[in-house]
């Protein structure tokens, strides 16, 4: 059973079609890149999977349950766009930020218990941010904040992690380290990871699956086939020459 099943999904704003007849499956342990031009509907699709927007028609199942009836949102971690641009004045330590990932599961007035404290420490360890745990978010670089937000998403022990353009605001040197870290998470934790990216160089390396969206699903398959000039041209609507460096 796929962890995410999307079937005949359509989305209109007024008469304008944003997504048209999207169908795809994502399996447990997949490492998926969601690519496409700006305005192609990538973020909209992600928001629909997360229940932040409602499709005009079609179906989304998460772990085999219709999204409308799905309650176990702690199984789906989300890291939004522009994490590195978060308000610099927000008074929040790394530990406090990571612990927020447990907020949805906590009932009113309940404190963080011993088991949850261990979960927080584990998430901090997995994201390799131990040395910053008592620092404020404002003291961290874009890449370090990105890891904090991933730790926050991991603390509820999700089975799916969705990231919207995670390398935005992260310098090029840190981007490679960041994607290596994501890939390690995917392999070592058997975590299904879906990320939106514009960086075609990234998808060539490790992703198991590429979904290309430009209103409709233009391509679904491996990165190798995707990087043929025809497929890239179809996704971005422009002529492309792909240079393979290895």
């Amino acid at each position: 059973m796929p962890v995410i099943h999307v079937e005949a999904l359509n989305y209109f704003v007024g008469k304008q079609e944003i997504l048209s007849d999207i169908s795809c499956d994502i399996e447990q342990g997949d490492y998926v890149a969601l690519i496409g031009p700006n305005g192609g509907g990538k973020t909209t699709l992600v928001k629909m999977i997360l229940g932040l927007q409602t499709p005009s028609s079609g179906k989304i199942d998460i772990f085999g349950i219709d999204r409308k009836h799905f309650k176990s949102w702690h199984k789906v971690g989300y890291v939004p766009q522009n994490v590195s641009l978060f308000d610099n004045n927000f008074p929040l330590s790394v530990y406090e930020a990571v612990s927020l990932g447990l907020a949805a599961k906590k009932s009113w007035f309940s404190k963080i218990n011993q088991e949850e404290k261990i979960q927080i420490e584990e998430a901090i360890h997995i994201a390799s941010i131990e040395e910053f745990r008592d620092k404020n978010l404002s003291e961290l670089s874009g890449g370090q904040r990105q890891r904090v937000m991933i730790a926050r998403a991991l603390v509820s022990q999700p089975e799916i992690l969705i990231l919207d353009e995670p390398s935005t605001g992260v310098d090029i040197a840190s981007q490679h380290k960041f994607y290596d870290f994501l890939r390690r998470l995917n392999r070592e934790q058997n975590l299904t990871i879906i990320f939106i990216t514009h960086d075609l160089g990234v998808i060539a390396d490790d992703v198991t699956h590429v979904l290309s969206i430009n209103q409709k699903l233009v391509y679904s398959g491996t990165a190798e086939t995707m990087l043929s000039c025809e497929a890239v041209s179809e996704v971005y609507g422009t002529k492309a020459h792909v240079v393979h460096t290895h």
Partner: protein, 264 residues
Amino acid sequence: MLEIFDYEFMQRAFIVGISLSILTAVLGSFIVLKRYAMLPDALSHIALLGVGIGLVTHSSPIYVPIVVAVIAAISIEYLRYKKRLYSDAILSIFLSGALAMAIILINISDGFNASLFSYLFGSITAVSDQEVNITVGFTLISLLLLLGSYRKLLFATLDEASAQASGIPVFWLNLMLVVLSAVTVALAMRIVGILLIGALMVLPISTALLYKENFIKTIGMAILFSLTSVISGLVCSYHMGLSSGASIVLIALGFFIISLFLNL
């Protein structure tokens, strides 16, 4: 010094002042971090509309502003969250609309007098026993609600989309926050004044933010700045015969300016 407490009106002013200073500091922290700092100002002008309605209809000067402010707060949040209108534009529309209606109503009721001035600038003699009971009871309930939901509220304040995606009822939490703010503003206008209550909600947290501490310490510092401003403002108001609202806000502003220099 302690003869100040011989007067019942001062006892009432201190009880209400201390309650509201804690509550405005906590509520103000979430409001400012949500970039919603114009909300208390808009709500206070809406509360003035409640005063105007009260003057025209000869109804309660306590309950009418509360009801009017709560209805407006719910409408503001609905338009912001569900209709996705710009929050600063909505607040500006409500503020000017409510102020215009309030002026007309006060005109009709011939209410431009000393009593209106106590609503505008605050007065330590204006607090009744009934207001003391309502304010203390409301403060306790509000602090319990905020304490019980603080982690969810903080997540929704930092990142609404991620909080909602994780299953947190963001709309209802925001609604709770604006409704509590509306009632707080309506209650605080008697002692701080409609024109100055916004500053009391915004200044203590803005001062605390300059010290760049974590969230818990920042809230603690905001409460301390707010409490000190209100207590010393009330004492100054009593000894110098000054407006209580203006004294409180000037002391809070003093803390902000000193902190700004200390953290340059």
